[in-house]
Symmetry: C2
Amino acid sequence: MKMLIKNAKVLTMTGEPIEKQEIGIENDRIAFVGNAPDGYEADVVFEGEGHLAMPGLVNAHTHSSMSLLRNYADDLPFWEWLTEKVWPIEEKMGPDEIYWGTMLSNAEMIKSGITAYADMYFYSAETAKASVEAGLRCSIAQGLIGSSAKDKEKLDVTRQLFQDWHMTGDELITVMAGPHAPYTCDDAFLTKVIELCSELNIPIHTHLSESEKEVKDSLEKHGRSPIQHMHHLGMFNHHTLAAHCVHLLDEDFDILRENKVHVVHNPSSNLKLGNGISPVSRLLSSGVRVSIGTDGSSSNNNLNMFEEIHLTALLAKGSTHDPAVVPAYQALEMATKNGAEALNLGTEIGMIQPGMKADIILVDLEQPHLYPHYQLDASLVYSAQASDVRTVIINGKIVMEKGELKTIDLEKTYHEIRRITKMLVD
Amino acid sequence: MKMLIKNAKVLTMTGEPIEKQEIGIENDRIAFVGNAPDGYEADVVFEGEGHLAMPGLVNAHTHSSMSLLRNYADDLPFWEWLTEKVWPIEEKMGPDEIYWGTMLSNAEMIKSGITAYADMYFYSAETAKASVEAGLRCSIAQGLIGSSAKDKEKLDVTRQLFQDWHMTGDELITVMAGPHAPYTCDDAFLTKVIELCSELNIPIHTHLSESEKEVKDSLEKHGRSPIQHMHHLGMFNHHTLAAHCVHLLDEDFDILRENKVHVVHNPSSNLKLGNGISPVSRLLSSGVRVSIGTDGSSSNNNLNMFEEIHLTALLAKGSTHDPAVVPAYQALEMATKNGAEALNLGTEIGMIQPGMKADIILVDLEQPHLYPHYQLDASLVYSAQASDVRTVIINGKIVMEKGELKTIDLEKTYHEIRRITKMLVD
């Protein structure tokens, strides 16, 4: 199967300037960027005039099935929201709910140009199943909350997930271990999780230093920040994707850099839950790897990476009082290359380059809010909307063309969501 | 001319819950909300199934023609941006540039559900002309920068604007005086502007306390904050629309409340230029009237009120560490009712109520990012995109139907913008 994208302006994210180039795709990989060889015959030709082609966005931290809780409970104090609203509904969710919640989120993510995501929730096999059907690249992690006494069964779920799903679905699915957070897992359990990562050679997806309270409690209990404590337990000997990192001690910056921890910035969620603003500019200038995530739809309340990229650049400037920090291109790197690295897929996705997987989106530039066309990287960060994404290719397959989803039955999904949410809130 | 909107869920912004109702429009005004009288025959019937009808959004502070500078110069220190990038290009702009810059922005604003806006720039007659052609409600203010010595001619422009344009275009256009800021107008000039407002009985549109430096300089020069100083000069005896108000002294809150000053919050611009975050939650709880604006497209870089509403709610929570402040409905009030009041049109627009002008938008709820449908006010604030707006009615006229602009030739506008921007940056 050969595809050719013609006449689009191409943002490769390899550091090269944006210019009109042709992109050739053969099966699941990018064959060339530049000019097609003489006489090249493609099975499918995309006319890209008026569009910008760029690597698909990587949503490096979400809980996709939480879309079932979107706009159900907002504007509440954190603990009231979590214990009185979220938890009682989550208790009613089984595999069927997780499958359809994921499918709804997959539709939203594809429509907004996300081609890969890192998920942490429960019944993760259902998330994998829905993602393979939708054709969306996903790194699944079963969220683990536990203490040493009852840990074995929980670890077995991750072991089973790994055996059943890792590198399946044309390699769309990878598996991580998902210890929820230092305050929901005791040290003995975390040590078991870290041992499991050694056994399976898989990365870790966790939440760290999200709230001020978490850091204060950790300092009181351990004499160490959550990041210092995870370092102490040996977590960072493994590839770690650490969501949030809002409240940091000076020492935390060094630990994160030296251990190549992948921090995932979730600006909307951190604001909406009242946790504050992560010091992203300082993290980046300290040499820490930072990518971007949406978090779940009950604390955001959408999975719109264009909003998160926009917020990442703006919040960094507003909070440091320096309009020059986190320029547009750097914000885009966080949402593509850095996200790919966070998912442990840095050699496979995140750039448009021969040999890499063909995860490519086409953005329609013929929109009033994108005129005039001066600096297109700035257009993408400061002006674009998720709805400007018109065509999405993942793993060399067309999953959306001219705004129309090719792999998901949206009407059926809406029907199932209406059925499920009626049951959940009754 | 009679129009009927059927089967839409209606958010009236009068405090009533959202429910399915019929809306009748006769000529430029809303005739009824509820059930059409028996045998009611409309000339046009809108099928609103799957949509939410709400008052059009009010963009209470912008410089619409700055869209010509969108994404031309970003990520720069403030003074370099302003003096080396913005000002040299603005010097090249004449009436033709302002007309087409406004038309481009009008297209963007209509597409994102804005039905009224307050503008401050130059050649404001062109902004009025383009707005009348586009069918968009606009309050124009010629930006005034001056010292006492050379003020007469500048005041005459506002006087002429008032004579030529106030309450013209089926009352779409109103006129304000636009003293740019305390730091660009001396006291003698400001006093003349205030006298002009008395003479013409028009409101004032200005910038106040945008940057830390502005406040520091004012305290050094006058021993008063910009807000204290404007109060001292008598500005607030007139209806005043004060954009920004980011850096405030304790005393400023009282002055703003007691004098019924309309503060316009511009969250994206304040972040992007590194000015910080306005204390909106404290302003609101102090009883100050606060509305929302986009500012111009060169410091935002779009005119997307959905983004600004979203940011307003999120930044208030994030900066106060309290997820309960500025709940969804309050953020929507700021963008509708409060904006209407800021434009001195509080009895005419901002709510869906019999007797008010018919400025109504229809939002498509059948989008993955808006499912499920629990609390629709939260959906609008936390999940919706500007592109969800499908139909826009202003002054009883359809300016966009199912995403298609009815009053603006978009291809011609793009063509003119390409021509103009080539000239501007050459």
